[in-house]
Symmetry: C2
């Protein structure tokens, strides 16, 4: 009730809501649901506007490089679809998504070791919407969601909107640490706090860039099975390993205990906004109901365009070309970091879009960002990837969208900023106090060098 009291006295600054632009100037301010007061502007969005300025080298966004798409092929294919099947593809479809696409999705998941039935797949508006639905059907306000430390900013925003209490579990260079996961579960169980699910990105983690090792996969699955914790496995980057096919999905190790989220946004194109959830059959019933409540049905046009692409184009070859592009850009990022930012520490991802960079002691990625933008380079502050105030000492640097030359130039600009910051710190002392302590349970910083 404290938020309500604050609302009625207009004492907005003392609530969580300041960032959500609620003020007394909004005549409907006292009408919002409690959950709306917890929503805040994503750091990613603030960065979209900056990143779009052409003079800025953006190492911030997660936009895939789709310049390599076969546009002529897609133009012809789509025109043919509209001409031949227009009254089908422009009409409403079923709430679960088109069977034609769901069948192809079972093929797309085969490299992950997944053997699925189309009936267990629900097509969503990007995997972000699947995250929203999973949150909607599982999270009561105040209940716990486990997530890696750090975790995907878009997932944290959704969990916050459903008033979840996010508890982070540490990672190292082999991904989520099984022992720490089990410790955390036991601690929460002792405290009587129900855990709704573990949200994890096993492959080429966003933002940490690491991959859950082959050895740990059955361990994580086994811990969750023993403690009856559902796993939500988010896998947008799985096919984008630099060196070949992916490790087996957690879903393949325990289909009844995992909701697997997939997306065409990184392996094909995000503009269609098509993703999916593969869930245990009983859960699928609820996913489908929530999907219909949310938007009746996913876009028929987008779905059947993608189905046609998968059927008539060598899509896996396209994925391999993407891999090559990102491999080159990932290598350019490593070279640039070695050349220009030797005072930082970072990891060496084997796929995906991101490098997770630790700043020298005393530097704060969040407060440094405006100075970086002045130097015409952008990144995402590590704070975006924590629900508990951590992350000030990290930056996420993306290598997906900028060319190798732009990556080199961006990191060079960043080095000027970091160097300036270091000089300030040397002159005035370390200002490490900006890093807030975690709120929920004690947990150390992830070690992701």
């Amino acid at each position: 009730m404290s938020t309500k009291e604050n609302r009625s006295t207009g004492n907005v600054e003392e609530t969580n809501t300041a960032a959500a632009a609620g003020t007394r100037l909004d005549p409907w301010f006292n009408t919002y649901a409690d959950r709306a007061l917890g929503m805040k502007q994503s750091e990613v969005r603030s960065l979209f506007s900056v990143a779009n300025r052409p003079e800025v080298v953006s190492l911030a966004g997660g936009m895939p490089n789709i310049a390599g798409l076969p546009l002529d092929f897609l133009a012809d294919m789509t025109a043919r679809l509209i001409r031949d099947r227009g009254t089908k593809i422009l009409q409403y479809g079923g709430g679960q998504g088109e069977e034609e696409l769901r069948e192809m999705i079972t093929e797309v998941m085969r490299p992950d070791g997944i053997r699925a039935h189309p009936d267990d797949i629900t097509v969503t508006t990007g995997s972000q919407q699947a995250l929203d639905i999973i949150s909607e059907i599982f999270i009561n306000p105040g209940e716990v969601v486990l997530a890696e430390a750090p975790s995907y900013v878009g997932a944290l925003g959704t969990f916050r909107a459903y008033q979840a209490s996010v508890v982070h579990v540490p990672m190292d260079e082999f991904g989520l640490i099984p022992e720490r996961l089990e410790e955390t579960i036991l601690q929460l169980q002792r405290a009587g706090r129900p855990i709704k699910f573990l949200y994890t990105i096993p492959n080429f983690h966003n933002p940490a860039g690491v991959c859950l090792s082959l050895e740990r996969r059955p361990q994580i699955v086994d811990i969750c099975r023993r403690h009856h914790v559902l796993i939500v496995e988010d896998n947008p980057y799985g096919l984008l390993g630099f060196d070949g096919d992916p490790l087996p999905a957690l879903q393949s190790l325990n289909p009844d205990g995992v909701v697997y989220l997939g997306s065409f946004s990184k392996t094909f194109a995000p503009g269609y906004r098509v993703g999916w959830a593969l869930a245990p059959s009983a859960v699928t019933q609820r996913v489908l109901l929530a999907n219909e409540n949310a938007l009746l049905c996913p876009t028929t046009f987008g779905q059947l365009s993608i189905a046609e692409y998968l059927k008539t184009y060598d899509w896996y070859q396209q994925v391999k070309e993407y891999r090559q592009v990102y491999h080159e850009r990932g290598a350019a990022m490593q070279r640039a970091l070695k050349t220009h930012l030797p005072m930082c520490e970072w990891n060496q991802p084997d796929g995906g879009f991101y490098t997770w960079v630790k700043l020298p002691d005393g530097l704060d990625a969040q407060s440094m960002l405006p100075r970086a933008v002045t130097q015409l380079v952008a990144y995402v502050s590590g704070t975006a990837f924590y629900a508990d105030g951590n992350g000030h000492d990290h930056m996420r640097l993306s290598f997906c969208y900028p060319t190798p030359e732009a990556i080199e130039e961006g990191v060079r600009r960043l080095s000027v900023v970091v160097q300036n910051e270091l000089e300030v710190v040397e002159m005035f002392g370390v200002k490490g106090s900006q890093t807030k302590p975690p709120r929920n349970i004690e947990m150390p910083e992830p070690d992701l060098k």
Copy 2:
């Protein structure tokens, strides 16, 4: 807590959840959020599968007739878009939607008397998703949403998912009755129950087919303004009046007090899944945050396809052609009803997709439906459009999708079913007891002849 107790004893049948397929066979049954237990399968969806069987004449669905779309034009236009702007339209966009489309949407709303700024528009995945977002940001569990009696089944499903308490307000042939609206508001205020918004479909109501009269529009707006009740104005059919331009939108009478929902699903094509919310500026901030949490951004492909269509095709002429088609089909429905169902009562809509038909005393639309399907005709039972158990004495008959010949044949088949039912009733007496009394506050049946 009663649902929880029922869950732990497995006593599913005694909760609201039976329809949602939750059973002890679902290992995650005790993990769901409370709101997931209130979701139930939409009557519309159950009907999709029936309606799709070719031998059935479906008077059930709300699928627009898109056979008249200029497919060759759209094929060429889309191919050109992909070739010329492929890396834009297949990429992520902003969470509020493409400015190019939002500008065109301000044009599309002009016939409704709306003067809007593109900044106050948020593009959504159909207007259904706008409904979901509005519910998310306004409704705490147990709070009241006002809706016409009857109201749109898809909205009721969403309100239920957010655990709203829907209170129906009666309509007559001129739409929502202002006096009854004010009475209801006062009654609820006296009972200390906060009202989150009035959900209303002023134009060519779904399912009732009526239009809110010109005289009543300022009255409804004034009542809501005086009592500080937000209006959510859902207007998918506004441009589809048989005889010309629409009446002024409620939004145009009080832009700060109305969230207006629009859609391209009925005036262009539903397969893109593009709709929008026009909200007061402060509310737009939250709509946008919720939209990003839900799906990052709407489909760029769909949005820019529609923007291009609006810019390069005479879209209003296309709307006029749609009007003509629906006018003919609406007239065919009236003729068929007069010929075959003189024992029923119905209204004569001036636009939109639906006729609301009252059955003779003693007949029950819900229990009659399986018998209708046996006669190869489908409709939606009136019960789908009430949150309080009413509607057994009504059917919604759609005239949007079937041809005039199919409408005639469908109503003829229906007359056989009704005649059979009447004979049963005459033989065994009236079984009116199947109509449950309203749950919330006393309210009479709408009079919609």
